[in-house]
Amino acid sequence: MSATANPSASSSLANATAVRRTLPFGNGNGNNTPLPAMMAENGDVKPSKDDSDASDNDDPDDLNTRTKKKYTKDRKLGEGAYAVVNLGHRRATATEAAVPVAIKKIKVNTEFRDGLSMDAIREVKYLRELHHPNIIALLDVFSSKNQNLCLVLEFLDSDLEMIIKDSSLTLSMADVKSWMLMSLRGLWWCHKSFILHRDIKPNNLLLSASGVLKLADFGLARSFSDPYRPMTSNVITRWYRPPELFYGAKFYSSAVDIFSLGLVFCELMLRTPFLPGNTDLHQLELICQALGTPTEENWPGVTSLPGYHEAGVHVKERGTDFFMNTFIAAGESGVELLMKMIRLDPRRRCSAREALNANWFSQEPYPTQPVNLPKKGGGKGIEKVGSDLKRKAGELFNTPDDAGRGKKLARKLDFGG
């Protein structure tokens, strides 16, 4: 009898995925010998010996093994609350060259064993269904030893926050337009698919080596609520959170994402967060000062929101003049778009679709081609991913010019040696 026929808790823990259909139901009934570890150090799997029907295409674990074998893990990039991100690459095949990927290993909460976190579930759930050039691609999912779920994501080496903070870069209005265009396209696709992102901010807008912007981090995303089903108002990073959520709105819509993106728009122009509140109350105050105080006149119904309270500051909702003064560089049509995105009353904000139709995008200066967009420069703003990553990433991805230079350099060295 093969060992796999007898599931046991101990062996399933160690080899859950390498052993076919060993499910965690066993109690360990004594006559089980622990299976030899089948995983190599680097996360690769050696084929299981008693896998008699490895050619069976329908076998899930074989599929898993095959999926896993497509990738190698290179190095740790960072660690978040519920995941460890590793740089890896898809092995070269006969037809395709090796492609770098990010492997996000979801930590199963080992202390509480509380099941997979909602964040992880949401990310898998939505990225499995959403496919759009401006949304990060989930290439594969596989399970590794120790029962970790690994998400293979396309590797994107920088984000908009790095660009904004990199003072060595000059961002033209055409560049800003290009980033806004790509963000709006990604967001439009989410909303069209009835999904709210709920965490739009510069460091969730990632940039590929060729300059394409992609929405990432769907840990807070959810599908639109059914009518009359409440949602939590405690979402979206504070600086980008719209006023209705501070008032505890439980029924909200895609307008929350539009507001966040509107503030990213401001930040791209100002090169610093537009409304950096220290606390929720302070944030609301900043919103009132910058955009105007919500009242029944400019936002019918606001006073009946569950968390509504009268603001200390009383500012009339800002008009075109104010925004023209602050964001003159965007031009009239740019300011018009911005104002539609950050209206106080969520019902008066534009949709992603409407925003994409804004005149601003079809006027000169035209949006910069993604490949020509400014890239993160020599060392500033990258510290958060680590200098290690920077060097490696620089080797792997740079503008075509840089890659060419790298090659030349290598050749030179070769010749020199």
Partner: protein
Amino acid sequence: MAANFWTSTQRAHWQLTREKIADMRKGLDEEDTNKGLGLAYPLPEHKQLQLYFHHCLQRLARRLQLRQQPLATAETYLKRFYLKVSIRDTNPYLMLSTCVYLACKMEECPQHIRSVVNEARALFQEFIPQDIAKLAECEFHLISELNSYLIVHHPYRTLMEVQVPLKLSTDEIMAAWSFLNDSYITDLILLYPPHTIAFTTIFLAVFVRPAIHTQANLNASGSTALGMGAAAGAGGSIVQPSAGQSVAVSAASGINPQNLSSARLSQMSEWFAESGVEMEAIIECTQEMISLYDAWETWTDKVCRESVARLIRGRQLS
């Protein structure tokens, strides 16, 4: 609902054919036989088990006060899972609890793992391990086996959407709704797109039910299990009892089917004819439903309960 059914993983990966499903089940059975498990732990026929699991899921869902949607998702997960993994390699009670737990997270009504385990233990006693880690582990396997395709598109939404344009009465909607609940006992959700199933239940509610209804009145067996009545009409938030052991159940809702004018019926059949819905698929679904009710007539949970218990004890899976 999220994303788009037409581009969904459900349509791409989890819409199968009858032949494919039969093949997959046969493959699992053969494997069990080879391992000597098939003989050692005989299980009732598949349809019987599906009825049994449906009842278990429903009882658990009711204890947890779930809406219909997460329950339907859980049922779909369980079906998908048992196409890839043999029942004999699992503890079905733990598995179905896991499906409920994961489905709740997916449908944005998360339940604490502890409360799922507690409620499941209240129902299935010693068959559910007290250690919540077991269920967490099981969740991981479930996700793996489902290839992390987790969004399920259900027919309920279509049903609600066409209510107004088709001028369906509350009575008809309620009947269709409970047919829909029952459809999760069958493999329909693995075979057809959600709208086809939704239209089948409407077809059943409008055309088939009145005929049976008349008969049921004669048998005076109509008024069972009608707790579903008002609640389902009012938006159907909590899990409803199913249409029960016979289609006759829907009879008790008080509207006399004879009142259905023939004008209304011809209007509906005209609509079906012109709608472009695949009538062939609807007929097939209808047959599936009718054979379900047939099997249900003679079904008791005793055989299933006992053989599952023997399986879990014998293989020490609890």
